[in-house]
């Protein structure tokens, strides 16, 4: 039992420490409703992208193309919203729905491409998605010629900047995504197969699972999630560009691993990832309130990741020793 809960409990202890520390340093500012709201606006972009990264890591893969596919989906959506229709009608419900469909379709196609490369052509995930990352961000540059597409319609901006009953819409979208992912992974046969492929692909094949199909859908879902993240992203930036959010790529791996996702596959829960995202966001907002540089936040995120991994290692080896004794 100790072993099963060790990671989440380490994370929860860390979260309490971070809240206490930031509360102590910032006083009322940090614990105010306004601050929590602003955190709820900022977290979802990285959060949804982390979920997209997480599901591929569970199968012992990786998806380096999530940011590129989010940007391409964002550009496609922004093109529909700003260029395909006269400005008067772009604000209508129909056009916005169409843009969403185009975005989801784009990201699903990219996900399917990754899926084919990895599941059916047996290319290692890191190389396949490195190639698609470079190629897709290339397409994004070709489409925009490197410029920003800005001036999205009024109603589109609601997605990233408004709240329902005081709860920001981005965090609602994130909660829906996390809930869906948790259900998918824990309550469906597909979810079990994802974990099984990650821990032992051979055993998985022999238990009658079609590994290729499962991997294919895994990358497709990962792609679709990056498309959803893109909706929030372009709405918050009020524009789309080929190289937005490039620094998110390694951060999604960082937050997934911090959340207990095993880079070798097979282990990791949505709950852990959510707690890890909250910790990262609190560090970032807390330091921001203190007026400390964003780059210091980056460094601190790195330190927290190593600390958590070290503590987890020490607990694991302690438990192992006790079991042997």
């Amino acid at each position: 039992m100790l072993r099963r809960f060790s990671h989440l409990s380490v994370l929860l202890v860390f979260m309490v420490i971070v809240i206490a520390l930031m509360g102590l340093l910032n006083g009322k500012n940090f614990l105010s409703i306004g601050n929590f709201q602003s955190m709820a606006y900022q977290m979802p972009e990285l959060g949804i992208l982390t979920l997209a990264m997480m599901i591929t890591m569970l199968t012992s893969g990786i998806n380096l193309s999530i940011i590129a596919s989010a940007n391409l989906a964002g550009i496609m959506m922004a093109m529909v919203l700003t260029r395909a229709f006269p400005p008067e009608s772009a604000n209508s419900f129909g056009v916005i729905l169409l843009a969403m469909l185009v975005g989801l379709l784009t990201s699903a196609v990219i996900g399917a491409l990754n899926g084919v490369l990895i599941a059916y052509l047996d290319i290692s995930p890191i190389l396949a998605t490195l190639g698609t990352m470079i190629m897709i961000s290339g397409f994004a540059v070709v489409l925009t010629e490197g410029y920003v597409i800005s001036g999205l319609p009024e109603n589109w901006r609601i997605i990233g900047n408004n709240a329902v009953l005081g709860i920001p819409i981005p965090i609602i979208i994130f909660a829906a995504c996390a809930g869906f992912m948790a259900l998918l992974l824990n309550r469906t046969p597909f979810g079990k197969q994802v974990y099984l492929i990650g821990s032992n692909p051979t055993a998985c094949t022999f238990s009658g699972v079609n590994n290729r199909a499962v991997l294919f859908y895994t990358y497709m879902i990962s792609g679709i999630f990056s498309g959803i993240a893109s909706m929030v992203m372009i709405s918050r930036f009020n524009s789309a560009k080929a190289d937005y959010g490039e620094s998110y790529l390694l951060l999604t791996i960082l937050s997934a691993v911090l959340g207990g996702v095993d880079a070798a596959g097979g282990f990791g829960k949505v709950s852990g990832v959510v707690v890890s995202l909250i910790i990262l966001q609190m560090i970032s907002s807390g330091l921001n309130l203190l007026g400390i540089s964003n780059f210091f936040t980056l460094a601190l995120w790195g330190i927290v990741l190593i600390l958590v991994m070290v503590i987890k290692y020490l607990i694991d080896s302690y438990v192992q020793k006790r079991q042997l004794a």
Partner: protein, 333 residues
């Protein structure tokens, strides 16, 4: 003949050859010594990083943090050059950058070895730590205006030729440094116990340990060597552009990994060669240069590179599948 065909390097070489012929047919100025020397000079940065990356990949690890290490070493020598520029010389500059790089690489190795944290995770974390702290300390300022001897060294050539319009060109000293590093790396990998042990470790860590290899020592060596190459690379970068900016290198780590992998190194460790790496860098360099010379709009550059990487990795995945099938047939018959 069969031996040559079974080597990955052969195929990369053929690809390099085909690209060169196509580019030359469209724009003959590609196939000139002037362009060759220019390419060799400007790609020495990626080439130097690639040497270190090759070592890490062969050992079965990966290092994402080398761009951040190079940022730290580059910035340190830039500050030193601006304040004590006249007391320094080029050897000292390389030495200082190398020592700091080795130290930072060693930190990676210690974390990876003692806490059993996967190298990709460790180095993503240390990338953020090194880069974040340096950017805070430097406040993101660009440094330029280095001593004249530093600028002179950058333009020095081993021999000088003249084009028809009397424009001088020739083999740059920077290229010579890069080639010297390649030879050293090649020698270590091929002819020393150390080099062969790195292959053994990458092939199978557990067996290597049982066989008596000092895994900790090897880990420290591999990541320190990557740090050393990152340090040297940062000096080369400073020489090439005569400016040091905290954000000029971070973000390019995956390009270097792509070049080394194109050259046949596997991400699971145990395979890869210096020749292959050189060809991988050459392929990337020729494609970049060739697209410009063929007047392809610059925006298409990444699409082509990405496509070539996908074709290449698909091809080697296909070849390894075939070789596994062949082995099964031989074993069962």
């Amino acid at each position: 003949m069969k031996n040559i065909l079974s080597r990955h390097e052969t195929y990369v070489f053929i690809a390099v050859l085909i690209f060169s012929i196509i580019i030359t047919m469209i724009n003959p100025s590609f196939f000139t010594l002037e362009n060759l020397f220019d390419l060799l000079r400007s790609y020495s940065l990626m080439g130097t990083f690639a040497i270190g990356m090759l070592f890490v990949l062969i050992s079965g690890g990966i290092d994402i943090s080398f761009t951040a290490i190079a940022t730290v070493t580059g910035y340190t020598i830039a500050v030193l050059l601006l304040h004590n520029g006249e007391q320094l010389n080029i050897v000292l500059v390389f030495l200082i950058a190398g020592i700091i790089g080795v130290a930072l690489g060693m930190i990676n190795a210690v974390i990876i070895h003692f806490f059993k944290i996967p190298s990709i995770i460790t180095t993503i974390a240390t990338l953020n730590i090194y880069y974040g702290l340096l950017t805070v300390a430097s406040q993101g300022k660009w440094l330029y205006g280095f001593p004249t001897w530093f600028a002179d060294f950058a333009t020095a050539r081993i021999f000088t030729l003249y084009t028809a319009d009397q424009v001088p060109y020739g083999l740059s000293v920077i290229t010579v440094i890069w080639f010297a590093l390649i030879v050293i790396g090649w020698f270590i990998l091929r002819y020393t116990v150390l080099g062969r042990s790195i292959y053994a470790m990458g092939g199978n860590v557990a067996s290597a340990q049982r066989a008596g290899f000092n895994i900790f020592g090897l880990t420290v060596f591999v990541y320190s060597f990557m740090g050393l190459m990152a340090g040297f690379g940062s000096v080369i970068q400073a020489l090439l552009v005569q400016t040091v900016a905290p954000n000029s290198l971070v973000g390019k780590e995956l390009d270097v990994i792509a070049a080394v992998v194109l050259g046949g190194a596997s991400l699971t460790g145990g395979t890869g060669s210096m020749l292959g790496t050189l060809l991988g860098v050459a392929l990337i360099a020729i494609m970049g240069n060739g697209l410009t010379l063929m007047h392809v709009p610059a925006v298409w550059y990444k699409v082509v590179i990405g496509f070539v990487i996908l074709v290449s990795v698909a091809f080697s995945a296909y070849r390894s599948k075939i070789s596994v099938q062949k082995r099964v047939i031989v074993e069962t018959s």
